[in-house]
Amino acid sequence: MRILIIEDDREAASYLVKAFREAGYVADHAADGLDGYAMAEAGDYDVLVVDRMLPKLDGLSLIRSLREQKIETPVLILSALGQVDDRVKGLRAGGDDYLPKPYAFSELLARVEVLSRRRAAMPAAESTVYRIADLELDRLSHRVTRSGQEILLQPREFRLLEYLMRNANQVVTRTMLLEHVWDYHFDPQTNVIDVHVSRLRAKIDKGFDKPLIHTIRGAGYMVRVGAEGAEE
């Protein structure tokens, strides 16, 4: 995955470049809006990480210009302005996700991975049935089965599983779950999300020898087959 970081704070940018490279991705850096625009236009990037306040060309204008040029590279907006309406403004300008500063890198990484994957799998991703190993979720009939056995879920549990499966093999953070399943953007301070996930896990994984919902320490959750990597 190729990531372009458009950020004028050199220290923050070099930290991000290093961290993304450590995670195994190609990361480039542009220090102002004009350079960023030129690189985003010319290079083949999978995700753009754009700071809102940039010299020469501000983040939102940059995104708007890219979208006008029909460049649909997914954009994650980083911003020190964490207000609700700022998020709305960012998304309206053509951004795909919004992360207020300060943030944890694990949160940013998870979001960037989801964005890039969404792009790569675009045509097929919106299939009506999600499948992971023997777990199946039918988005139309709202039926969930494992090994052919129907599992009854509450509507919210269904949406939780749907989001996890849609982003299977990827880390999904608690904040992302709160955003997509409950449509709230605040930082879940307590373990509210964990309790919901463990309830879901009890329904999905209990009685089966291969767990599918995994906790990724310090980051969030992941639905996948097998248990390589960091485990709870």
Binding site: Q83, D86, P102, F186, D187, P188, Q189, V192, V195
Partner: protein, 464 residues
């Protein structure tokens, strides 16, 4: 720009000048009309006098013939005054009257016209200067001609007087107008310059400075008053901002020091890489907490400054409350607490669903953390949302130890935590945020006694 140029360029001067021109034109029109009317009045008077005299004399002629007419004319001619008389033969030879010379042909034309003439005085001397007169010539039966006229030099003199009046008044208006304009402009200019001077001082940093109010209640006073009010508001905002940033700086000092000390201690005491790693992880955790504190503080500060107001919209509070209750229901169940939710349908509120959700989350967090009596079993928490008297009341009530009445206001302040809460995780910002959210919505946060327990009432104005 010299002083005169500055003066001339003022709006007051230009306005005064424009008025001057308007008044001059007006004065001329008025004077002109008066002059014309006076002339016309005089002429009319002359004409009717002449008519009457001709009528009278013609009557004399009819009664007593030429002799009687000549007698009358002679008699009248001797009267002091300005009337002119002349009786001639059909070929223009003078028989009687006080007129000696007329332009040729005048006496042959019956009717009324203006002409020059010369007259004989009592002394018999001829007038050297021919004068202007209005005359009427009348043909008497028998070919004699009667001319009666009036000297109109008088009229000319009147005209001259009026002309002179024109000149003087023009001069007078001009001088007075210019002086007035200069005076007014200088007065206004002085006040504006005073204002400019004061604003310059204020811009240079004297933020306590205010514009002078003359007390006349005119537009400049109103402007000055408005500018003063604006300065006042700016001052308040700046004061608020300074207070917030001071508070944040102060509030962050403690956790930052703790973070530093932890890192320092780890550096000094850690023996193995594992211990160092654990210390580093603890440090990261601590900085995450710091970030959380910082975010919460920033959010409260912004809500209090009213910055979030532009993002507000209409939404259903009932749904927001239900959603958050549902979010916490699993957590409550885990803790063995029953969450009793009673939400009326459709509670429209103008504000932010997101912020209300966050406030609810904070209240439920608190209720779960502190809602159990110390050492006792977990108790039910009730969540209500209903409308009452134009308000939406969102209530979160627990059956824990509650908050003593004396402390209820204090716990709304930032970083205030009760002694009983010290042992639990938290920063003391939750209720501050809820209070800020309530204020942003134009509502209020009330802490009440749930007998036993705490009953938190978030009252928001109902959207009409």
């Amino acid at each position: 720009m010299n002083a005169l140029g500055k003066l001339v360029r003022t709006t007051a001067f230009k306005l005064s000048f424009a008025y001057l021109i308007i008044f001059t034109v007006f004065a001329f029109v008025t004077l002109g009309y008066v002059a014309w009317s006076a002339q016309k009045l005089l002429t009319d008077q002359f004409v009717s006098t002449i008519q009457a005299e001709i009528g009278g004399l013609a009557e004399q002629y009819r009664i007593g013939g030429l002799r009687r007419l000549v007698n009358s004319v002679e008699r009248r001619s001797r009267r002091p005054g300005a009337s002119l008389y002349l009786v001639t033969t059909s070929n223009g030879e003078r028989i009687a009257g006080n007129v000696v010379a007329l332009p040729p042909g005048v006496i042959d034309r019956p009717g009324q016209f203006e002409t020059f003439y010369s007259r004989t005085e009592e002394s018999g001397e001829n007038d050297v200067e021919p004068s202007h007169a209005i005359v009427r010539v009348y043909l008497l039966p028998g070919g004699f001609r009667l001319m009666v006229g009036r000297d109109i030099e008088e009229r000319k003199r009147l005209r001259d007087i009026i002309h002179r009046a024109f000149g003087y008044s023009l001069l007078f208006i001009g001088v007075l107008g210019c002086v007035g304009a200069w005076f007014i402009a200088r007065r206004v200019l002085k006040r504006v310059e005073d204002m400019t001077e004061t604003t310059r001082h204020i811009m240079a940093g004297d933020l306590g400075g205010r514009l002078k109010i003359a007390g006349t209640g005119d537009e400049l006073d109103r402007l000055a008053q408005n500018l003063n009010d604006m300065l006042e508001r700016i001052g308040e905002l700046m004061h608020g901002m300074r207070e917030v940033s001071d508070n944040i700086a102060h509030d962050l000092k403690t956790p930052l020091t703790r973070l530093r000390n932890k890192a320092d201690e780890a550096l000094r005491t850690a023996k193995s890489p594992d211990e160092l790693k654990a210390a580093l992880e603890a440090t990261i955790e601590e900085s995450d907490n710091l970030i959380r504190i910082f975010n919460a503080l920033l959010m409260i500060a912004r809500l209090e400054a009213g910055n979030a107001r532009e993002g507000l919209a209409d939404f259903d509070a009932a749904e927001a409350v239900r959603d958050v209750a549902e979010l916490y229901e699993a957590l409550a169940e885990e803790a063995g607490v029953a969450l009793e939710v009673a939400v009326e349908g459709d509670l429209p509120v103008h504000g932010s669903r997101e912020l209300l959700g966050q406030a609810m989350a904070n209240l439920l967090d608190n209720a779960l953390k502190y809602g159990a009596a110390p050492g006792g079993p977990a108790q039910a928490i009730s969540v209500e949302a209903r409308r009452r008297d134009g308000e939406v009341l969102v209530v979160v009530a627990d059956r824990g130890p509650g908050i003593p009445e004396a402390e209820r206001n204090r716990v709304l302040e930032r970083f205030v935590r009760l002694e009983t809460a010290r042992s639990r995780p938290g920063f003391g910002l939750g209720l501050s945020l809820v209070a800020a959210v309530a204020r942003l919505h134009g509502g209020a946060l009330r802490l009440e006694d749930n007998r036993p327990g705490l009953r938190v009432v978030l009252a928001l104005p109902l959207k009409a």
